[in-house]
Amino acid sequence: MSSRRGETVLLPLGAGALLILAWHLAVRWTGTSVFPSPLSVGRGIVDLARKGTLGRYSWDSLRRVAWGYGLALTLGIPIGALLGWRAGAARAVNPVIQFLRPISPLAWIPVAIVLFGVKDAAAIFLIFLASLFPIVVATANGVRGVPSMYSNAGRNFGLSGYRLLSRVVLPAALPEILTGLRIALGVAWIVVVAAEMIAVDSGLGYLVIDSRNAGKRYDLVVAAMLTIGIIGLLLNSLVQRVSRLRAVRWGFREES
């Protein structure tokens, strides 16, 4: 147990330390005056944190993700469930989804700005779009893939329609839906940064682009990047924790 813990905690920490060391040495040996060393990035983070910029911008980014992702979740799960449940609906809508899916969410940025202006709503709209598709597709696949013996058992106990869906089909599809939610959250966090670079003037993405534009502060650029990475990591482990709940763990056995 303790050696397992050592492997899961110490090894990645060691790898991270080596990476930072390599970064430090690379900056020293090349004598670059543009790219910051780990130390100056650390000072940059402390600086930003003290001024309150880091907290405020992180909060702005997280708030946008919460809205966009929350909307995608509340719309995406019912839409996906309908598509998985009714073969006719899937046949009608699938071509549209398959057509829209390969369009990068970033290509929607001009559309979002036209529709919503340089405001929160534009960023939220982009996050919503980007996370909607993985959620819809995973939910539809999950619902469609529910073994017929589960739905037959549900019908045998007198369930049909909405009650069959909510008591049997959705719980059976939940592991796959959760996988979709996890992918969608990762995508949402990637898209919020891109959206903030263009569509708004706050948030971590804005911090990256603003630090560069206002005086080429690459230490702050990298500080913002690190913050983005750390928050992304935390979000992912949060969703992973949900997958370990006992009621859904059966569906993730190959991972544990």
Partner: protein, 259 residues
């Protein structure tokens, strides 16, 4: 309800008449069941025995109302079967326990309309009946195959159905667990007096369990013969009569009883 005496002729519970089933795809047509006629009496334990893939599971699915037959029909208590019904519960061969619910959640699944106390009482009763005390809060993936099968049987019994359909329920269990589960099922059958239709490809299993064994042919399945198993429970598996009946079925199916 007062359990009927075995000697009294009991009324017909399940009536299968002129049943045909053909699966059609664009290119081909597979005849699965042909001209099945069968009456099952109330409280009777009937095994449907046939080689793998002969269509006996299809027959059970039709009787349970999951599949409409191509021709003919099924009546239960005189009324035509048009779909599944909580009075008749199907126990699946692939172990259909719900993995997202605990043992208690599974067993209480069909009791939604009951008051909470009544439901808890029923669940506790059936947990005890199938010997799962102490595992009420376990999830199926934490249980062995035999325990999962018990959960499914208890979930079926908890809604107090008249009829149980069992589709090779013990097929995936090891041979020792299988024997234990058979005697458990008989014990429960004696205690609860259900009508049971039990599909199996295991000759010994059918002779150990059933009042009557319905021997099916290979596809398209017809009924070859119906064998009365005139042995009292508990059955002595080395008695002459048991071996006679078993070997008779082996011969009927055309298997040499030697390896």
């Amino acid at each position: 309800m007062i359990p009927a005496e075995k000697t009294v002729p009991r009324r017909t519970k399940v009536e299968i008449r002129g049943l045909h089933m053909t699966f059609r795809t664009d290119e081909s047509e597979v005849r699965v069941l042909e001209d099945i006629d069968l009456d099952v009496r109330e409280g009777e334990f009937v095994c449907i025995l046939g080689p793998s893939g002969c269509g006996k599971s299809t027959l059970l699915n039709i009787v349970a109302g999951f599949l409409p037959p191509t021709a003919g029909g099924v009546r239960i208590d005189g009324s035509v079967v048009r779909g599944p019904d909580p009075r008749r519960i199907f126990v699946f061969q692939e172990r259909g326990v719900f993995p997202w619910l605990t043992v208690e959640g599974n067993i209480g699944f069909g009791l939604g309309a009951m008051s909470r106390e009544e439901r808890e009482r029923r669940v506790a009763h059936y947990v005890a009946l199938v010997g799962l005390d102490g595992f009420e809060n376990a999830y199926p993936h934490e249980l062995s195959g035999g325990m999962k099968q018990r959960v499914e049987v208890a979930r079926a019994l908890a809604v107090n159905p008249d009829v149980l359909y069992l589709d090779e329920p013990f097929g995936a269990l090891d041979s020792i667990t299988r024997l234990v589960m058979r005697s458990e099922l008989l014990r429960i059958w004696h205690a609860e007096r259900k009508t049971i239709l039990f599909v199996t490809h295991d000759i010994e299993e059918s002779v150990q369990l059933a009042d009557r064994v319905v021997v099916m042919s290979a596809r398209p399945a017809r009924i070859r013969r119906i064998v009365d198993i005139d042995l009292a429970h508990p059955r002595d598996l080395s008695s002459r009569r048991y071996l006679e009946l078993r070997d008779g079925i082996f011969e009927e199916i055309g298997l040499a009883h030697r390896i």
